[in-house]
């Protein structure tokens, strides 16, 4: 159950003139901590609200979001044990997730 109104936040941040990206979990495999549809809202300064992985890969998703804000182009990114970078960013649960990161334009 979503406690925070993340999409309301995304709209109000945008209304304030901040650059905003929205990240959404699109697929999970194994024991991923946050369900499909979970959101992270990120602004151009790297501030974020919400969660896509319970803290495991938020840092990496924020970095992707800053790229997306810069380029204006959405992308689908994956994290998990099959991916070398996953060890670096550490999905401690051993699961895999895909995250769709898009600009709010």
């Amino acid at each position: 159950m979503q406690q925070e109104d993340l999409l309301g936040t995304a709209a109000s941040w945008r209304a304030e003139g901040r650059k905003v990206a929205l990240a959404t979990v699109t697929e999970t495999w194994g024991s991923a901590p946050r369900p499909v549809g979970s959101n992270l809202v990120i602004d151009g300064e790297g501030n974020f609200l919400g969660s896509v992985s319970g803290g495991c890969v938020e840092g990496a998703v924020v970095a992707e979001a800053l790229d997306v804000i810069e380029s204006g182009k959405a992308k689908l990114v994956s994290f998990g044990v099959a991916d070398e970078t996953a060890w670096e960013v550490g999905l401690s649960c051993g699961g895999k997730i895909s995250v769709y990161v898009e600009p709010v334009s």
Binding site: G8, R14, T24
Partner: protein, 229 residues
């Protein structure tokens, strides 16, 4: 996501109307499908299935992969009885994301001091419940121990197909309740839907523990559905 789409989506959410955002993962093209429009959409079957389950996910179609982000209104909890258990149950349920309403015509119980921050209606169920828009996204708990209050509310909960219906009282109390409700026209399948004694059997003693047992039972019904619980 276009800001206009985001705003339209937020309007639907604020009005407690279900909607789905459809994203073509290859192109990034996006559209908002409001629940009443799902039946005439090209992805009709997938959209309707997901509106029922409330689960977001990817659909593979001949036209490519689509991600469907599903928004269904947050569940409601309606409680009859502004009793001690309700004082614990209502704020805990709010933390779990429920929109909570407590109904009790007994003004000695239904005081704002006892229920700070909770929607409280000091009215009889016959008067209070019809305006609440109770639906299949609503859980109902009868906690007064008073048949004059709980019985009509239970009949209303049956008629609105609440996803969870629970009633406080021992097995003996519940057997008497079943007899009364039968006389008032409740069917066997409706009566079988009542969780009574209310709450999972976890040896709960205090009002707060009983509230936990009730919320665990409601959560099981919400997440596992009827057949697995």
């Amino acid at each position: 996501m276009q800001l206009a789409l985001l705003k339209a989506l937020n309007e639907e959410r604020a009005a407690r109307r279900a909607a789905i955002v459809v994203t073509a993962l290859a192109s990034g093209a996006q559209r908002l499908v409001k629940a009443p429009d799902a039946a005439k959409d090209e992805l009709r079957e997938a959209l309707e299935k997901r509106l029922r389950s409330g689960k977001s996910g990817t659909e593979e179609t001949p036209e490519g992969k689509f991600f469907l982000t599903v928004f269904v209104p947050p569940p409601r909890l309606v409680i009859t009885g502004a009793v001690h258990i309700s004082q614990e149950l209502a704020p805990m349920a709010q933390r779990l994301g429920y929109d909570v309403t407590v109904v009790d015509p007994r003004t000695a119980f239904a005081t704002p001091e006892r229920f700070a921050g909770i929607r409280l209606l000091a009215e009889w169920p016959d008067k209070a419940l019809p305006s609440l828009g109770i639906d299949a996204h609503t859980a109902f708990a009868a906690l007064t121990h008073d048949p004059k209050i709980d019985d009509p509310a239970l009949l209303h909960a049956f008629s609105k197909n609440c996803f969870y219906i629970g009633a406080l009282g021992s097995k003996k109390t519940h057997a008497a309740r079943i007899e009364r409700l039968k006389v008032q026209g409740a069917t066997d399948s409706q009566l079988a839907r009542i969780h009574a004694p209310i709450g999972l059997s976890i040896g709960a003693v205090s009002p707060a523990e009983i509230a936990v047992s009730i919320l665990a039972e409601i959560t099981a019904r919400l997440r596992l559905g009827e057949e697995k619980h």
